[in-house]
Symmetry: C2
Subunit: 394 residues, 2 copies
DNA sequence: GTGCTTGTTTTCGCCTCTGAACTAAGATGA
DNA sequence: TCATCTTAGTTCAGAGGCGAAAACAAGCAC
């Protein structure tokens, strides 16, 4: 029942080109010979296609490897400077703009502080646009070299060209951030939920690397998840899939800031943890959390249990091969409590799917949101290199 | 990060052939002219391809439609008798074997009763194999005409050729039903969880028809779900995705027969409903449930609430465009309580994803499991018609 | 230098799609 | 009755794509 999609002989070339480029990107320097094995394409096709890519400067040579008794292999790699991607993290307290080359090395970045409760959409858009200018000039990159701008934001992002956002905690209800940005730039824009961009980053460059069915959970102020099915982020019909933090684990339980009751976030979100521990925060949540973890408080054990229930629900429903625990709260909890979290998950899930899952910690830091946002641009580039280039130039 | 998959020019033909056949199958009698519009293929391609399909007897003519002032269109349809599919429902109390033509019209069926607690795998396999012989001879269909056998079973089915099953309630732990069956037949076999085959049936021929992102839930003795992503059943890494009945909605809640606590099934499974209502069953659960529903018992309202929580978790996590409530308990509850179920779901889910979801009742009866199992064969046929035929013949 | 090995490119045949020209089959109206 | 119009379906030539195999390239060993 998959959407009918006619194919013509040209699509093959495009598809195989993407396959080749992906192989080249993820395997690092590789010879044409290796590429035939990796992609399954014939040597002939690899040869002509790499010739094209070299001619377009998308791929460059990267030395040789002598072989015992035969012609040496010429190594190829994706040209990291063929183009650049901007990644933006719009968070509660700041807007961060980073410029990345194709290898996702950060070339420049700039932060703008946001006053809490001052999340004027126009201001945020201005920060992003001026941030783009700043990082470009800092890194000496021309706008024509930029393949696109990825933006990670809190809340739900409607599908569609306007990038309309609903973020209750932000006071945004129907803010067309994409449209606001498009007034100031003609570069391709990709707006997505920040938990999803972080998930994207962990999937491509962090602990989720190589997984095809996975869930990357984000534990921080908010609680969310990125569900990965068949190697790509699952978005659901209106792009809001993955709102794990507001699934209920205690029917009619603790009230949540979303207005509901018994949400997972109302147990394992940072505010909930501190509240349940009876901590009145002085503003530094990280320190507060460290205090709770160092204490003998039963809240710690309870938190592990609740988290285990939440994770077990994912195990039973999604049956992933890997669960990555990310977000600063998640990583902090995991550092000392991962074995307990695994036990709690096992206790609440079915044996078969649990046995198929490995639960690991994320290994990217707080910059993962911006990196993941830039990865949206990279993904587009790898899927259809020439098209992305044209759009960017136009 | 999707699996690299090289394509050659031949794959195009295969893919387009599948596209064409699907269009023909789901649109009913259609002219070549309509097919060009529906598939996006050129008239030339449609012409040569339909000629092939007519030659192979996969497609047949189905009359004409006169047009005002031009050559009349010749209607085409899939030949319902090109091949047949066997669908098997292995349930707690019986094994049912049905023979379906390509239009999924049931041509013959046979039931075998199972004594409770007498679920010998060998016996079940023998029932299935002799059932296949019976329905074939009843319908006068030769084995060579059968494209495959689909089997829906309780529990988790491991991916792989042996069709290994883990079904706690059945007393099956690692039963290789597929391997047992293969000893008695050379036809292609498809073994899948019964909730998934039922979901498949509702998706293709029932209330889920046309939905691309959907969840079909099954409420009966057990509670499960079929998650549909991009038009196909999502299975997870080891084929056990969708174990919704054992997701927790009350941390540390009521004990469940799976050994866990607070599972959804321990609140809305039929045994749980009756237990919570204080009914001691005489054996006729349908009557018992009717009694509970007719009473003023608060258990009814509570059940609606718990079900709403479970459904809301799906809404938040999966963001489907449609939720179909199936299974005999689900349909019975839904008949009178659907508005309340919708309210309870709304109360426990986020506004945006809830607004994007419609919650409807399943419209296929208890035969949906066998029908869905046969649909597994149909799906294979539509995806690669010629390959399926060859396998069946071999 | 001559043979051997291995990597890369070129040549050639086959396959698929599409646009355009062409054929088929009925309606219409003088 | 028959020329003309309209719409459906088929045929053909051309372009683009892939793979097998032959050809070419570039080292090593003796």
């Amino acid at each position: 029942m998959a959407r009918p999609q006619r194919r013509t002989v040209r699509d093959i070339r495009r598809g195989n080109r993407a396959v080749l480029l992906r192989a080249l990107y993820f395997s690092g320097p590789t010879s044409r010979n290796d590429l035939t094995a990796r992609t399954g394409l014939s040597a002939a096709t690899v040869s002509t296609m790499t010739a094209d890519l070299l001619g377009e400067n998308i791929v460059v040579e990267a030395g040789q490897v002598e072989s015992d008794g035969g012609r040496p292999r010429v190594l190829l790699r994706v040209n990291p400077e063929y183009g650049f991607a901007v990644g933006v993290d719009v968070a509660e307290t700041h807007v961060r703009v980073g410029l990345f080359d194709l290898e996702m090395t950060e070339r420049a970045k700039v932060d703008y502080m946001l006053r809490p409760a001052r999340h004027d959409p126009e201001l945020v858009a201005r920060h992003i646009l001026s941030g783009v200018e700043v990082v470009l000039s800092d890194a000496g990159v021309a706008p024509e070299q930029v393949l696109g701008i990825g933006v990670g934001v809190p809340g739900i992002v409607e599908p569609g060209a306007d990038g309309v956002i609903h973020a209750k905690t932000f006071g945004w209800d129907g803010v067309p951030l994409g449209a606001l940005l498009r007034r100031g730039t003609s570069l391709p824009l990709y707006v997505d939920n920040g938990a999803k961009t972080m998930g994207q980053a962990e999937l491509w460059f962090g602990s989720g690397r190589g997984a095809s069915e996975a869930v990357i959970v984000l534990l921080g102020v908010g609680v969310g998840a990125t569900i990965v099915a068949d190697g790509t982020t699952f978005r659901g019909v209106s792009s809001s899939a993955g709102e794990w933090g507001h699934t209920k684990i205690v029917a009619n339980g603790r009230p949540c800031r979303c207005g509901g009751r018994g949400c997972l976030e109302a147990y394992v979100g940072i505010e909930a943890i501190l509240d349940r521990a009876g901590v009145t925060s002085q503003g530094d949540w990280e320190e507060d959390l460290a205090g709770v973890l160092a204490s003998e408080s039963p809240v710690v054990e309870e938190t592990v249990t609740y988290l285990g229930v939440g994770l077990a629900n994912l195990v039973n429903l999604i049956n992933p091969e890997k669960i990555v625990i990310g977000g600063w709260v998640g990583v902090r909890l995991g550092e000392s409590l991962l074995p307990g979290i695994r036990r709690a998950t096992a206790a609440n899930s079915l044996a078969e799917p649990y046995a198929a899952t490995s639960i690991v910690l994320g290994r990217l830091g707080p910059d993962a949101v911006a990196l993941g946002a830039a990865t949206l641009v990279l993904e587009e580039f790898l899927n259809a290199p020439q098209v992305a280039r044209i759009t960017a130039a136009g």
